[in-house]
């Protein structure tokens, strides 16, 4: 299939590309000069063969000492054909890349992020400011010469809070007819309903929203930079803490990407355990979403119910991975340990009551007139705008985009499972609620199928049997000197990954979660780009709440289901 796609790419791009190749996973990559970039993206979007209507992410890679120094990277996807394309655009230091913000609106934030972290300017960008770091930050962290442990120093007398206040509506021209009539309200970063440390500057005319500028980066952790300094296995630890509501999803997406580079075959048992755990993860993530979303709108009881239910799954997490949240259970080549014998019993005991729990939530909310009034017709997006912003997951499915990576680009043996994908058409907060509620039910279905399939596999085959990838069993270390050497190499160097690039993606609880990893053949990644679904989903927020009332802001934030750890990384 990949060669066919490759030919399609070649024929669509024609002379626009310098050269094309396929990456470790067989996905086509084209190298395009900066002057042809806009034309290439337009052609790929319009051509019926390629039809790349979705920009997954735009980022860059520092290729020093190569000249030109940087590569702009664009990951494109076709919702219609379900295939990926990647464009690499070589650009030298100081040279600008053309902005794609008018072709794909979602590129706006991605380009700002690249500008912030790499210092690559974009020509024609509507509002090129730093997005994750403060305006007065020195340097660009993802450049190779930047010390990852550098502690920022501000000039004496710099009033950092003053900058925060002035930033306000930066990048937004007063939209109200009479500027004297409108006020700017600051929401966050300390606000109970922003689901973390997000800040919104909202321009109000009375109670009506005229404009809104989200400010993010208050939880920027530098995970992408840190990834380049830790080895391939150690990195799993950081990613679980990125989207902390669905830790195992993050681990899975990263491991899939690295496994593509390694070309390793994961045993069936491990694949099914991964499916089982990623669906349980989806359930706990959706439970937190439901509880907090309902609490924001005023239904506190739902929060208590959801958290009580979540505890049951956290117990399973503890049984299988040893920790309540950050298990680092999914490893490269499989999982960390076999499923305990008592585990299926725990899952079965839980799933028996889960359906009745779901009907309690439905009973509390679905037909509740207050809930319906607060959510129906609020935060509406249409199909084209959603695609343009790169919305994915439940948000995309709520506007009638029938797209789920589990079905369309199956990974980890998802093609063997039976499940339905809920799609709603209205695109409002209520539609998103219905989609997620149905996903909870479907996830339970998948969990039950996974348990059956695991029972059919041979116990103990939970990781690829290759001592270059997985630790040597304890009794093996004493048995032979060769295994002792493997043990030593594994725990000191870690895994050595052949050079290449790959994109690992999954349908996480919030949408398309992707890890673009590049290896230069050593024990550390050369570059890890994390495509967090919340980042793109949040970028459409000003569009969603345009024309609504201030109270609807809270309902809409809840419906996006953002996790700031993933937005800011």
């Amino acid at each position: 299939m990949s060669t066919a796609v490759d030919e399609r790419l070649q024929s669509a791009l024609g002379g626009l590309a310098e050269r094309a190749y396929v990456d470790a996973a067989g996905e086509p990559v084209a190298v395009v000069p900066p002057a042809n970039l806009r034309e290439a993206v337009k052609v790929l979007k319009a051509s019926p063969d390629t039809y790349c209507d979705y920009l997954s992410f735009a980022s860059a890679q520092d290729m020093i000492p190569r000249v030109p120094r940087f590569d702009g990277i664009y990951q494109l996807y076709s919702i219609k054909h379900h295939h990926w394309f990647r464009l690499r655009v070589p650009v030298s230091d100081g040279e600008a890349l053309p902005s794609l913000a008018d072709i794909h609106k979602g590129a706006d934030w991605h380009e700002r992020e690249t500008y912030d972290l790499f210092g690559i300017p974009y020509d024609g960008h509507p509002d090129l400011r730093r997005i994750l770091l403060t305006d007065n930050w020195h340097g660009h962290p993802l450049r190779k010469e930047y010390d990852h442990q550098f502690e920022p120093v501000w000039a004496p007398g710099t009033n950092v809070l003053q900058n925060v206040a002035e930033e306000g509506m930066a990048g937004h021209e007063a939209a109200g007819e009479d500027p004297a009539k409108t006020i700017v309200l600051n929401l966050g970063p300390q606000h109970p309903a922003t689901h973390g440390v997000m800040r919104l500057a909202v321009e109000l005319d009375g109670e009506n929203i005229v404009g809104c500028v989200p400010h993010i980066g208050y939880l920027h952790t530098g995970i992408e930079k840190l990834s380049e300094h830790h080895n391939w296995t150690q990195n799993i630890t950081h990613y679980a803490r990125m989207d902390y509501l669905s830790p195992m999803n993050n681990e899975l997406a990263y491991c899939l990407a690295v496994e593509k580079l390694l070309g390793v075959e994961v045993p069936k048992r491990a694949q099914y355990i991964r499916v089982l755990m990623s669906e349980l993860t989806r359930i706990i993530s959706h439970l937190v979403w439901l509880g907090t979303h309902a609490m924001d709108i005023g239904a506190l009881t739902v929060f208590l119910y959801c958290f009580a239910e979540r505890e049951k799954i956290l117990e399973m997490y503890e049984a299988i991975g040893g920790q309540r949240m950050m298990t680092s259970y999914i490893r490269i080549g499989g999982v960390q340990d076999d499923m305990p014998e008592s585990f299926p019993g725990m899952v079965e005991a839980w799933e028996k009551t889960f359906d009745s729990q779901l009907s309690i939530y439905h009973g509390l909310l679905t037909k509740n007139p207050i809930w319906r009034q607060r959510t129906m017709g609020i935060g509406v997006m249409d199909r084209d705008t959603s695609l343009s912003y790169g919305l994915s997951g439940p948000l995309a499915r709520a506007v009638g985009i029938d797209w789920d990576l589990r079905r369309d680009n199956p990974y980890s043996s998802f093609e063997e499972f039976e499940f339905d994908i809920p799609v709603e058409q209205t695109g409002d907060v209520y539609a998103r609620y219905l989609v997620r509620m149905e996903e909870l039910r479907q996830s339970r279905r998948i969990v039950l199928q996974a348990l059956k399939k695991i029972a059919e596999t041979e116990p103990g085959t939970y990781v690829a049997e290759d001592y270059k990838l997985a630790p040597v069993p304890r009794d093996g270390i004493n048995a032979s000197i060769e295994e002792l050497i493997h043990h030593f190499k594994y725990w000191t160097d870690g895994i050595w990954v052949p050079s290449g690039e790959a994109y690992g993606f999954i349908e996480a609880s919030k949408g398309e979660l992707g890890y673009f990893v590049v290896s230069d053949g050593t024990a550390h990644p050369q570059r890890v780009k994390i495509r967090g679904p919340s980042f793109s989903n949040l970028s459409a927020f000003p569009e969603m709440i345009k024309g609504h009332l201030i109270a609807d802001v809270i309902a809409t934030i809840g419906s996006i289901d953002i996790v700031l750890g993933e937005v800011d990384r």
Binding site: D147, Q149, P152, Q190, P192, V197, G217, Y218, G222, Y244
Partner: protein, 180 residues
């Protein structure tokens, strides 16, 4: 008598008299302890969620762990009504001035718990973006290890803090600093 003392520049102020439990004032020392006992059983934390630990902090208030058994379930969204700041998660340099501002907006007496490895020392994130320990910018009373700590661990920290408050020295310290 008291008025005279307060107006004299070189005489100790009322706050200073109250502040030193060792000055022989048995009555005031006892009052401090009584106030401390009241305070310890009604600590109102600030709704200040940063990262992963905030989810465990939320679990602590939910039904299984039920923080309200210890009088601390009333999380206040406004720092003006809170007296405990739980730094729950990694604190970035961009967030640091805001956290400090929030702390300064809290009325005295106030306490800080650094929840988890990141708030205690930066945790696994030794990067340019993260403050390596909330104690760089805030006076931390209790450090809770874990990544994230279990809700029981945070509960233990709150009980330890209650013991600390019951000694009554905090009331005195606040008056000494001239803060209310």
């Amino acid at each position: 008598m008291v008025r005279e003392r307060l107006t004299k520049p070189d005489s100790p102020t009322a706050a200073e008299l109250l502040s030193n439990p060792d000055d022989g004032s048995i009555l005031l020392t006892s009052i401090n302890k009584v106030i401390g006992w009241f305070q310890s059983n009604s600590i109102w934390p600030l709704t200040f969620g940063l990262a992963c630990c905030a989810i465990e902090m939320m679990s602590l208030t939910a039904s299984r762990f039920d923080l309200s058994r210890f009088g601390s379930e009333i999380f206040r969204a406004s720092p003006r009504q809170a007296d405990l700041m739980i730094v729950s998660g990694r604190l970035s340099w961009k967030m640091a001035p805001i956290a400090r501002e929030l702390y300064e907006q809290m009325p005295y007496p106030k306490w800080v718990i650094a929840m988890g490895a990141c708030a205690s020392c930066g945790g696994v994130f030794s990067t340019y973006a993260i403050v390596h320990g909330a104690d760089h910018i805030l006076p931390v009373d209790i450090y809770v290890p874990g990544c994230p700590p279990r809700p029981e661990a945070l509960l233990d920290a709150i009980i330890k803090l209650q013991k600390k408050i019951k000694t009554g020295t905090y009331v005195a310290q606040g008056l000494k600093d001239g803060r209310r």
